[in-house]
Every structure is written in C-alpha cells, then in structure tokens.
Amino acid sequence: MIIDRVEVETINSFSKLELFKEIYGLIWILPIFALLLGITIEVLVIVWLEREISASIQQRIGPEYAGPLGLLQAIADGTKLLLKEDILPSRGDIPLFSIGPSIAVISILLSFLVIPLGYRFVLADLSIGVFLWIAISSIAPIGLLMAGYSSNNKYSFLGGLRAAAQSISYEIPLTFCVLAISLLSNSLSTVDIVEAQSKYGFFGWNLWRQPIGFLVFLISSLAECERLPFDLPEAEEELVAGYQTEYSGIKYGLFYLVSYLNLLVSSLFVTVLYLGGWNFSIPYISFFGFFQMNKIIGILEMVIGIFITLTKAYLFLFISITIRWTLPRMRMDQLLNLGWKFLLPISLGNLLLTTSFQLVSL
C-alpha cells in the first residue's frame, strides 16, 4: 500500500512542472489582496456615510474640510489613530491585550471569503458557505472576551461578558433563519442561494418567501453587529466604552474597524440571502443571457453584478445607520428577553413552517 501511494505521488508530480506550481501559488494570492483592498475602501465609504447621514439626521453639516465633501475624513481618522500613542494598562495582561483586537479583526475578515460579489465572483465557493460565516462569527466573542479580561478594568470586563452573551444568544435565531433559506434553495453555498433567487427578478427574492425570517434576521444581525439599539457591550452611560475602554491608538482603531466590517458583512449577507445578490431586480431583463459571447462583455457583466450587489448592500446599510441614529438603547434584560423569548420561538416557528411547506411541495 505504501508503494502504491508513492507511485501515485510520483505521477502527480510529473504531471505539473515545479516552476508552474510556484507561479500558480503566487497568482493564487493576488485575489485575496484585491478583496482586502476592496473591503478597506468599502469600510472607508461606510465611515463617511455614517458621518454624513448622522449629521443630516441631527441637522448638522458633517465632515466638509477633508477632501471634496469630506470624503477623505475616514482616512484622516485612520491616520490620526495610527499616529497616536499606544497606551498599555500597567496592571493589565499585556500579551492578551495585544492579541484580542487582532482575533476580532481576523475572524471578521475570514467571513468575506464566501461572499459572492458578482456572477461566480467569489473567493472560495465552498459547499458550506453560509455555515462557515455562522461558525466564524461565533469565534469573534473570544477576541472581545480577551480584550475585556486583559484590560484589568471592571467596565471592560463587564463589556466583554456582555458582548459574548449577546452574540451567543442572537446567533441562534440568526442560524435558524439561515437554515430556512438553505432549505428553500437546497444548498448552503452562497452562490447556489443567489442562483435559486434568480428566476423572477424582483419577485423571486427570498424576502417575499421569508418575510418573518427577514425581520428576525435583520434584528439579530443588528444585535450581532452591536449597533445602537443593541449596543449594550459599549454603552457609554453605563460602561464608559465597554471592552474598548482601555484601548488607544491603532488597537482602538482595530475595534472601530471590526464594528464597520461586521456591519458590511451582515449587509452583504442580507443581500445574498434575501435580496437576490448580484441579479438585476427587474424581471425578464437579464444581463447574463449572452454570456461567453465576448470577453469584454463578460467583464462588463461582472462589473455590473458587483455594482448591483454593492448598491443593495448600501441600501441596507442606510437603513441600519438610520436606525442607529433614531432608536434609543435597550436594557440588558430587555435585550436577552427579546433574544430568547421572542426571536428564538418565532424563528423556530418560521423554520417549522418552511420545512412543512417544503415537505408538502415535495
């Protein structure tokens, strides 16, 4: 048996030249950097949007000096945070204090792996795409717990515990909603989920087939992002700033980045799961009919697909930013009651309904 294996290996190694392999390995890294660059630009745009929208809601002017329309304000913020002194708490746990923010950032960045931005334009079309996102977003609280514990500060500690409790309890309704969607499209892969909604344009969206699921998903994704109606972990009046209290400089900047990356991920997932992804929303007009006719047309279609996805995602982002600047914060017991006593039974009922309809239609 050992001999067999060796033979197979030698055949494999003869089929591809070593040099080709190395070049292929280098090319394989390029899309990752492209995606990272795209994500960074998108986050900068979100920060600017948040500032502008909150200004217009509160009847202020908002950023206007940094660049045209204040577009460079986010870059100015980032540079300021980068140049600030990195203060370490003297009696804190320094190694954990430094690792905490990076774990939070890495775990969010990993979930961009499975988001399809355009037609077949996805970094890794895994067969378990959405499941990967759920699993990875359950790792993020470890980073927050680490940050809260290592700051050696009661407010930070309470903030970390609250963050973990909140994200664990809202993960469950979120997962049930995703499960219902994957039942409807018979797959966990994000690409297949979008393909299943592509038939009737606007009317084929999962939003119409899963209205309850959409609402539950909306609420629990806001809670996962720790946005304002649910920003208990960093409630200013109670906990100073929660787990970020002791952080300064670029480490604080990383937490800032995490909150916006989280918002971007969840709005992209709302687009993919409920709003039809990259498909054009007017029925019977398809951009993808004459595919493979020409290379330039193919590239054009890809760009249009990315544009449509991002437009839908930013429309959703507008809603969540407006919610942040209109609604007041909940209490901790109200938050947990909403999660466990309201959203969990409703999402379970939704899943049951979906399953029984699927069984009847079979």
Binding site: I128, A135, E171
Partner: protein, 176 residues
C-alpha cells in the same frame, strides 16, 4: 482544498506547529486563563487540518461547536476565577508527575507506531455496502466500529443524552 504543493505543506506545518504549541500551553501554563485560550488555539488548528483534508463540514462544525460554544463557555467560567492565587504557588516536581509524564509520552508514541501499520484502506468499504464489510474485516475492533457507525448509530447517539440528564440533575440539586 486544491492547493499547490508547497503552500499545502506550509499550511500543514503551520497547523501542526500551532497544535503542538497550544497543547503544551494548555498543560504547562500556570494561569488558567492562558490555558483556556490555548485550548482555543488547539481546536482552531484541528479545524484547519479538516479544511486541508477537504472535509469542510466537519471543519466548520468543529469551529462552531468546540471553539464557538465550548471554548467560549470554558473561558467564561475561568474568567471568574481569581487568576493571581493560582499562579503564585510554584508546582513541585513529584514522583507522580514523572509517572504521569512517562505514561502520557508512551501513549502518543504507541499511537504513532500503530497508525502507519493499520490498513486504513479496508475502512473505505464502509461507505459502499454492508455485505462486503462483514466479510472483509475480521478484526473485532473494526467490527465494533462498523456496527457503531452503521446499525447502532441512533442508540450510540442517544447515549449522549445521559450527559444532558446529568446536567439537568446537577442543576436541580444545586437549586434545592
């Protein structure tokens, strides 16, 4: 995952190194909070191995259940223990420790010698049909494994309910 050879090897080495470091960290670090976090590292590295072996579902389930649920709960519990009193008392090297070390080192070495000797190809038949399995594998242990994974799958899983029952029992006893 269809990765080119060198990158695959680098990732395997990276995962194995993380696994070893994390495992040693769980045992050797005196502060329980560090042990809990390095247990998390171990579990993440195991799931990385599953990713490299093309079994995505197992990898993601590992991440979700072991890292996302169990490890977070462990960290939750350990955080409430006061760290300073644990790290103060120095551990003395006793005969018992030496004996345990010897025992623990022999287990991985015996596993490392048995794994290359076992014919793993025979187990491939379990996925195809039950008849071939019965004839092909005479070994007792293999028979038990096959029966657990095919005929007695449901009872085997139901045994895990005992854990739930004991948990509920503990809660009711603590409440009284």
């Amino acid at each position: 995952m269809d990765l080119p050879g060198p990158i695959h090897e680098i990732l395997v080495l990276f995962g194995g190194f993380g696994l070893l470091l994390g495992g040693l960290g769980v045992v050797l670090l005196t502060n329980p909070i560090y042990s809990a976090f390095s247990l998390g590292l171990v579990l993440v590295c195991i799931s990385l191995f599953y990713f490299l072996l093309n079994s995505y579902f197992v990898a993601v389930a590992q991440l979700l259940i072991y890292v996302g649920a169990i490890n977070v709960l462990i960290i939750f519990a350990v955080m409430f223990v006061n760290g300073s009193e644990w790290s103060k008392d120095k551990n003395y090297w006793t005969i018992g420790d030496g004996f345990t070390l010897l025992l623990c080192i022999t287990i991985p070495f015996s596993l490392m010698t048995t794994i290359p000797d076992t014919s793993w190809y025979g187990i491939l038949w379990t996925t195809r049909s039950n008849q071939i399995v019965e004839q092909g594998l005479i070994n007792n242990v293999q028979q038990i494994g096959i029966h657990l994974a095919t005929d007695f799958y449901l009872p085997f899983e139901l045994i895990s309910l005992i854990l739930l029952v004991s948990l509920i029992g503990a809660i009711t006893m603590a409440r009284q």
